[in-house]
C-alpha cells in the first residue's frame, strides 16, 4: 500500500505523469518518456513481473503511445494479456490491442483464437469485451472465423450482448459487404427487438444497408414510421429521455433513414408526411437536442417529394434558426437553407439579411458554411458580388486547403456566369495572383484561350481593346516577385502574343520585361520556356514588320545561358530563337504569322507531303520503312528531334531504367503505325511524334508547340459571349417571383397590403440597425429587398408568418436579456444543459474560490493537507474517497442534474451559482480535496490559474 499514490495507481505512474506535466519543453517531455520506455522494456521482459504490475505497465504503454512514441516493443505483452482468465486483465489486454493494432497486423492471428473462445464464454462481460475487440480487429480474412458465433449472439439473452453483436455485424458489413449479405434478414428482425437499445443500435446498419440499396427496403417505411411515432409518443422507457426529449438520438437516426427511403418517391413520402409534420409542430426549440431534431426534420423534408405544407414549416424552422444568437443554430440554419434552396429557391430572400450577417460573422465555420450557400445560389445576376466576396475571403485566409477549394469555386462560377470577358479576366487575375499555384493548370489555359479568342468574330476592336487592357494589367503587376508560376506563364504568353500589338509599348520594353521575368524565376524551367518563346514571338513580329532588331545584352546572355541549359527543351527554344533572328522577313512571316493563336492546324497524319521524297529515296536504293515493332532491338535514337517541353518529352526518348513493356507497346501504336497509313521511310522512324507536323524549317515546330498549348480539347467552352446570353438554368429567382406577382396580384391585393405591412414591420426594424452598405449587398445578392417584400405579400402561403414573428421576437428578446443581465456570472453548471453559446460568457469567477469557505480552510491549507494525504497519509485519503461509494454518488448526482434541468429548463445557466453547490453538498469536500491534490500534482504546468483545476462538472 505504501507504494500506492492516489487514484489507485502506483507512485511511479503518478511521478511519470507529474514530471510530464511539469516538463517545460517538448524535448524535456520526450526525454522523460524515453526513459519510461526504457524502464518499461526492461520490466515487461522480466518473467517475474506479477500480472497486476504487468497490467499497469500495459496501461503506461498505452499512455506512452498516446503521447506519440513508439510502443511496439510491448504489443506482444498486450496480446498475451488478452489470454488471461481474469476479466480485469483481459479487458485491459483487449483495450490495449484495440488501440495498438490495426486489423492487418501480424499479431492479430494470435488474438483471433482468444476472441473465438471468449465469444463462447458464459460470462456475458467477457463476451462483450470480445465483441468490442471484434469491432476493431477483425478483417476480411478473419470474419469467417467469428461470424457464426456472432450471429448466434444476436439471440443472446442479455441485451448488451445483442446490441454489440449487431454492431459487430455492421462492422463486417462495412469491411466486406459480401460476407454478411445473407444475414440482412437478421438486421430486420433485430429492429423488432424487445429492448429499445438493441432496436436503436440496429438502425445504424440499416441506414448503411438502405443507403446502398434503397429499393429493397421500401417496404419498411410503414414500420419505421410506426416506430418513430411510438418514440415521439413516449412509449419508450423513461430512461431513454434526454433533456426531456424522448429518445432523441433514435428519432434522428430514424429521420435520416426515412429521408433516404422517401427521396424521390412520392408514395413513400406521403407515408412520412404526417409524422414529420407532427414532430416539427411539437419541436422544442429551447434545447440543443430539440433543435437537432428540428434540423433533421428540415433535412428530411428537403429530400422527400416536395410537400408545400411541410416546406413552409421547414422554411419557418430555418427562420427560427437564423434569428437566434447562437452560432451553432445559425450554422444549422444556413446548412438547412442550402438544402432547401434547391427545392424552393425563393425562400432565400426572406433571409437575405441574416445570411449577410453570417457572412460577416467572426466565426470562421459559419462563414464557410455561408459561402457554401452562396456558391449554391449563384446565378448570373449576383455572380459579381458573390465572386468578389469569395475572393476577398480567399485572400484573407491562410489555410491552403480551403483556399484551393474556394479558388476553384470562384473559377467555376465565374466561368459559368461571367457577365463580361473583361470582368472574367480581371477576376482570373485576382484568383491567380493569390492562389495561382493552388488551382488546376487547365484554368491557366482557358484564360489564355479567352484572351486569344476575345469577344468573338464580330468585334475586332473590342478584342484588341481587351488584349491591350490585359497587357497593361500584366505589365503593371508582373514586377511582383511572389506571383505564382502558373500566372507568370499566362503573363508571358500574353505579352509575347500581344505585347507589341497595339504599338503602345516598344519591343525593347517588352523584351526587357520578359528577360527580367526569366531572371527572377531562374529555377522555374517552365516559366523560362514561356519567356523565351515570348521573346521569339516579339522578335519575329519585329522582323516581319521590317524593323531592325537589336537584341538586348541581358537577352543575349539569357539565350547563351539557355543554350547550355540542362533542359533540352530550353536548349531547343534558345537555338530556335537564335536561328530565327538571323532569317529574313519573308521567312519569319511564314514561321511566325502574327495573331495566329486561334488558327487551327491541319495535321496531315499521313505525311503525304513527303511522298515525293520517299519515292526518290527508294529509287535511290534506300531501305523501305520497317515498323518499330517489326525491328526488335533496333534503337532509333539517331533521328530523334528534340521536341517541345513536357507534353512532347513524354513521347520523346525514354531513358528511364526498368521500363515496363506495356506502355512502350502502347506508345508504338499511334494511328501513324496503322498499316494503311504507314510511311515507309527509315529517316522518319520516330513516328510517335507524328502528332506534330514535321517542320520543313526547324524553328516552325515552335509555333506548333505554342499552339499546342492552346488546343484545349478537354475544356468546355463555358465562358465568353455565347454563355452569357444563353439561358442560365435559373435565370434569377426574382424573375420567377415577378411572374408570380403578376399572376397573383389581382386576387390578393387586399390581403397582400396587410401582410406587407407586417413584413415591413420586421424589415423596418432591421433597417434601423443595418447599414445601407449591407442593404445594397443584400439587394445585389438576392435581387433587392423591395422585391422580397413584394414576394412575401404575393405568396398566400405565408399567412401564418405574422403569427409567428412577434412570438419569436419576444423570445429572442428574453434570451438576450438573460445574457445581458447576468453576463458576469459564471455558468454554475458546466454540464451546460441549455444553450451552448452561453458557456463561455464569463469564466472569470473561480468556483473553486467560492467553495473554499465550505471547507473552513484557508486557500493554502487544503492544498498542503491534500499533499500530505497524497504522499504520506495515503490511507486517510483513501478512506475519504472510499466513503463516497459510487452508487450513492451517482444517485445524488442524478437528482441534482434533474433538479437543475427542471429548474432551469431553458437556460441552464440562469440559476444562481449556489444551486448546484447546495445540491452537491456532500461531494464538495471530496471535490476540493481532489482539486487541491490535482493542483499539487502539477498536471497543468501553469499554477497561476486556479481556474484550470475546478472540477469538470461542478
Amino acid at each position: 500500500m505504501g507504494s500506492q499514490g492516489g487514484f489507485g495507481k502506483s507512485k511511479e505512474f503518478l511521478d511519470l505523469i507529474k514530471s510530464i506535466g511539469e516538463s517545460r519543453s517538448k524535448a524535456e517531455e520526450d526525454r522523460i518518456v524515453l526513459r519510461e520506455i526504457e524502464s518499461l522494456k526492461a520490466r515487461l521482459g522480466d518473467p517475474n513481473t506479477s500480472k497486476f504490475k504487468l497490467k499497469e505497465y500495459i496501461i503506461r504503454l498505452v499512455y506512452v503511445e498516446m503521447l506519440g512514441h513508439d510502443a511496439s516493443f510491448g504489443y506482444i505483452h498486450a496480446v498475451k494479456m488478452t489470454h488471461d482468465e481474469n476479466l480485469h486483465l483481459k479487458r485491459t489486454g483487449y483495450l490495449a490491442v484495440t488501440l495498438f493494432l490495426n486489423e492487418d497486423h501480424d499479431l492479430i492471428i494470435l488474438i483471433v483464437n482468444t476472441i473465438q473462445k471468449d465469444l463462447k464464454s458464459d460470462n456475458y462481460l467477457v463476451v462483450c469485451a470480445a465483441l468490442n475487440a471484434v469491432c476493431r480487429l477483425i478483417n476480411e480474412e478473419t470474419i469467417p472465423a467469428v461470424l457464426p458465433r456472432v450471429v448466434e449472439l444476436l439471440g443472446h439473452q442479455k441485451e448488451a450482448v445483442r446490441k454489440k453483436a449487431v454492431m459487430a455485424l455492421h462492422r463486417f458489413h462495412r469491411r466486406a459487404p459480401g460476407s454478411v449479405s445473407h444475414l440482412i434478414a437478421n438486421f430486420r428482425k433485430r429492429l423488432c427487438d424487445n429492448d429499445p437499445g438493441v432496436m436503436g443500435a440496429t438502425l445504424c446498419p440499416l441506414f448503411d444497408l438502405i443507403m446502398a440499396d434503397v429499393d429493397s427496403f421500401k417496404d419498411m417505411v410503414v414500420s419505421l414510421v410506426n416506430i418513430l411515432k411510438q418514440v415521439t409518443e413516449r412509449r419508450l422507457p423513461k430512461n431513454y429521455d434526454y433533456h426531456q426529449m424522448p429518445a432523441p438520438f433514435i428519432q434522428i437516426k430514424l429521420l435520416k433513414i426515412l429521408a433516404v427511403l422517401g427521396s424521390g418517391d412520392k408514395k413513400a413520402s406521403e407515408q412520412i408526411y404526417t409524422i414529420l409534420g407532427d414532430i416539427m409542430k411539437k419541436s422544442d426549440s429551447t434545447t440543443n437536442i430539440g433543435n437537432a431534431i428540428l434540423y433533421e426534420c428540415i433535412c428530411c423534408v428537403s429530400s422527400l417529394h416536395p410537400n408545400p405544407k411541410l416546406l413552409e414549416a421547414a422554411a419557418d424552422g430555418i427562420s427560427k434558426f437564423l434569428k437566434r444568437d447562437s452560432h451553432n443554430l445559425r450554422y444549422l440554419g444556413v446548412g438547412a437553407l442550402s438544402r432547401l434552396i434547391k427545392i424552393s429557391p425563393e425562400i432565400a430572400e426572406q433571409h437575405q439579411l441574416a445570411v449577410i450577417y453570417c457572412l460577416e460573422d467572426p466565426d470562421d465555420t459559419l462563414k464557410r458554411k455561408t459561402f457554401e450557400l452562396l456558391y449554391k445560389m449563384t446565378n448570373s445576376s449576383n455572380v459579381e458580388v458573390i465572386v468578389d466576396r469569395m475572393i476577398d475571403y480567399m485572400i484573407s485566409i491562410n489555410d491552403g486547403h480551403y483556399k484551393t477549394e474556394i479558388a476553384s469555386r470562384c473559377i467555376e462560377v465565374a466561368e459559368q456566369y461571367a457577365p463580361s470577358n473583361q470582368w472574367f479576366i480581371q477576376t482570373m487575375n485576382k484568383v491567380f495572383e493569390h492562389a495561382g499555384d493552388l488551382v488546376n493548370s487547365k484554368v491557366a489555359h482557358s484564360l489564355m484561350r479567352l484572351i486569344a479568342e476575345g469577344f468573338g468574330e464580330d468585334d475586332a476592336a473590342a478584342d484588341s481593346q481587351l488584349r491591350s487592357s490585359a497587357v497593361e494589367s500584366y505589365l503593371h503587376i508582373m514586377g511582383d516577385p511572389k506571383l505564382p508560376s502558373a500566372f507568370i506563364q499566362v503573363i508571358c504568353w500574353v505579352l509575347g502574343e500581344y505585347g507589341t500589338a497595339d504599338g503602345k509599348h516598344s519591343a525593347t520594353y517588352i523584351t526587357g520585361k520578359l528577360c527580367d521575368v526569366a531572371e527572377a524565376h531562374a529555377i522555374d524551367d517552365i516559366v523560362k520556356a514561356y519567356a523565351v518563346t515570348a521573346l521569339m514571338k516579339i522578335y519575329s513580329f519585329e522582323i516581319a514588320a521590317g524593323r531592325k532588331v537589336d537584341i538586348l545584352p541581358e537577352c543575349q546572355s539569357l539565350i547563351e545561358e539557355m543554350l547550355a541549359s540542362n533542359s533540352t527543351d530550353l536548349q531547343q527554344r534558345a537555338y530556335e530563337l537564335q536561328d530565327i533572328t538571323g532569317l529574313d522577313a519573308h521567312a519569319v512571316k511564314n514561321i511566325m504569322p502574327k495573331d495566329s493563336a486561334c488558327e487551327d492546324f491541319e495535321i496531315d497524319k499521313n505525311l503525304s507531303f513527303l511522298d515525293d521524297y520517299i519515292r526518290r529515296a527508294l529509287e535511290n536504293g534506300a531501305q523501305p520503312y520497317i515498323p518499330e515493332n517489326g525491328r526488335l532491338g533496333m534503337s532509333d535514337v539517331t533521328h530523334f528531334t528534340s521536341q517541345e517541353n513536357h507534353e512532347s518529352s513524354f513521347h520523346a526518348l525514354r531513358f528511364e531504367a526498368y521500363e515496363r513493356p506495356k506502355p512502350a507497346v502502347a506508345l508504338n501504336i499511334p494511328p501513324a503505325l496503322d498499316p494503311s497509313t504507314e510511311v515507309p521511310v527509315p529517316e522518319l522512324s520516330y513516328l510517335a511524334d507524328i502528332q506534330q507536323p514535321i517542320p520543313p524549317v526547324p524553328s516552325a515546330s515552335n509555333i506548333g508547340s505554342s499552339e499546342l498549348k492552346l488546343r484545349l480539347d478537354g475544356i468546355q467552352k463555358k465562358w465568353g459571349r455565347p454563355t452569357y446570353s444563353s439561358p442560365v438554368p435559373s435565370t434569377s429567382s426574382t424573375d420567377i417571383i415577378k411572374n408570380q406577382n403578376k399572376a397573383n396580384q389581382p386576387i390578393s391585393v387586399g390581403s397582400s397590403n396587410a401582410k406587407a405591412s407586417t413584413v415591413s414591420y420586421d424589415s423596418r426594424k432591421q433597417v434601423q440597425e443595418i447599414s445601407p452598405e449591407k442593404q445594397k449587398l443584400a439587394a445585389s445578392l438576392f435581387g433587392g429587398a423591395s422585391k422580397s417584400d413584394g414576394k412575401q405579400s404575393s405568396s398566400s402561403s405565408k399567412v401564418s408568418k405574422p403569427l409567428h414573428r412577434p412570438a419569436e421576437k419576444s423570445r429572442s428578446v428574453t434570451t438576450f436579456d438573460t445574457t445581458i443581465v447576468k453576463p458576469s456570472q459564471p455558468p454554475p453548471d458546466l454540464l451546460d444543459l441549455g444553450e451552448p453559446s452561453f458557456t463561455n460568457t464569463a469564466p472569470s469567477v473561480d468556483p473553486f474560490k467560492q467553495l473554499e469557505g465550505l471547507l473552513d480552510l484557508t486557500p493554502e491549507k487544503p492544498a498542503s493537507n491534500a499533499f500530505r494525504a497524497g504522499t504520506t497519509d495515503a490511507p486517510n485519503l483513501m478512506s475519504l474517497f472510499t466513503d463516497m461509494s459510487l452508487n450513492v454518488q451517482g444517485d445524488s448526482l442524478v437528482n441534482s442534474i434533474s433538479n437543475m434541468i427542471d429548474k432551469n429548463g431553458l437556460g441552464g445557466n440562469t440559476g444562481a451559482p449556489s444551486t448546484p453547490q447546495t445540491n452537491k453538498g456532500p461531494n464538495l469536500k471530496a471535490a476540493l480535496e481532489k482539486d487541491a491534490f490535482v493542483r499539487h500534482m502539477g498536471v497543468m504546468p501553469s499554477g497561476q490559474d486556479p481556474n484550470l483545476f475546478k472540477d469538470l462538472l461542478s
Partner: protein
C-alpha cells in the same frame, strides 16, 4: 460514422485518443496537433463546429467543446447530425461525471482505461451504440464490480485502492 474521439487539455496534450478506423501513431499525433491549432485559433463564443476536411478528408467535420480544462473533440462524417454530436458529447461527459463523481482532469489522466470503458458503451465501431444514461452507467458499473471482485479474489485486499480503479 464517428471517426474518432479526442480529449486533450488546454496545452494540447492528449488525454484520450480513440480512432474508430486505424490510424498510425504519427498520423494520430499530426491530427491532434492540427486540431489543437484549429481550436486555439477559434475565438470565444462561436459555434462548436469546425470543418476538418483538410485533416481527415472530404466532408469530415468535428465538434468540440471545452469542459473546464479539457477540450472534447468528436470527429465524424456527414452521416451524423452536428448538433446531435454535441449532445452525444454531453452524454459522454455526464456519464463520466456519474462514474467518477466530480470528474476532473486528473481522473481522465489516470483512468483513461475507464474512460475507454465508458466510451465503448456509448460508441462502438464508430456508431452510436446507446445513449440511455442509466443503461450505460449500469453496464460500466457491472464491469467495475466484476473487476473489483476478480481483483479481491486473486489479490486479497491489497489493491482495494481508490474504488478499485
Amino acid at each position: 460514422m464517428i471517426r474518432g474521439v479526442i480529449v486533450m487539455n488546454g496545452q494540447g496534450k492528449p488525454r484520450l485518443v480513440k480512432f474508430y478506423e486505424f490510424e498510425p501513431v504519427e498520423k494520430q499525433q499530426e491530427a491532434i496537433r492540427s486540431i489543437y491549432r484549429i481550436l486555439c485559433s477559434r475565438v470565444e463564443n462561436v459555434s462548436n463546429f469546425v470543418k476538418a476536411d483538410s485533416i481527415f478528408g472530404k466532408d469530415v467535420r468535428l465538434v468540440y467543446k471545452t469542459y473546464a480544462t479539457l477540450y472534447f473533440v468528436f470527429i465524424f462524417d456527414k452521416s451524423e447530425n452536428e448538433l446531435a454530436m454535441l449532445d452525444l458529447m454531453q452524454v459522454f461527459v455526464e456519464m463520466m461525471d456519474r462514474c467518477f463523481s466530480n470528474v476532473c482532469e486528473l481522473d481522465v489522466v489516470f483512468h483513461f482505461n475507464k474512460m475507454h470503458t465508458i466510451l465503448d458503451e456509448i460508441i462502438l465501431g464508430g456508431q452510436v451504440l446507446d445513449t440511455n444514461s442509466s443503461e450505460i452507467v449500469k453496464a460500466v458499473e457491472e464491469i467495475l464490480k466484476l473487476q473489483r471482485n476478480s481483483n479481491s479474489i486473486t489479490l486479497g485486499s491489497s489493491t482495494s485502492g481508490w474504488q478499485g480503479r
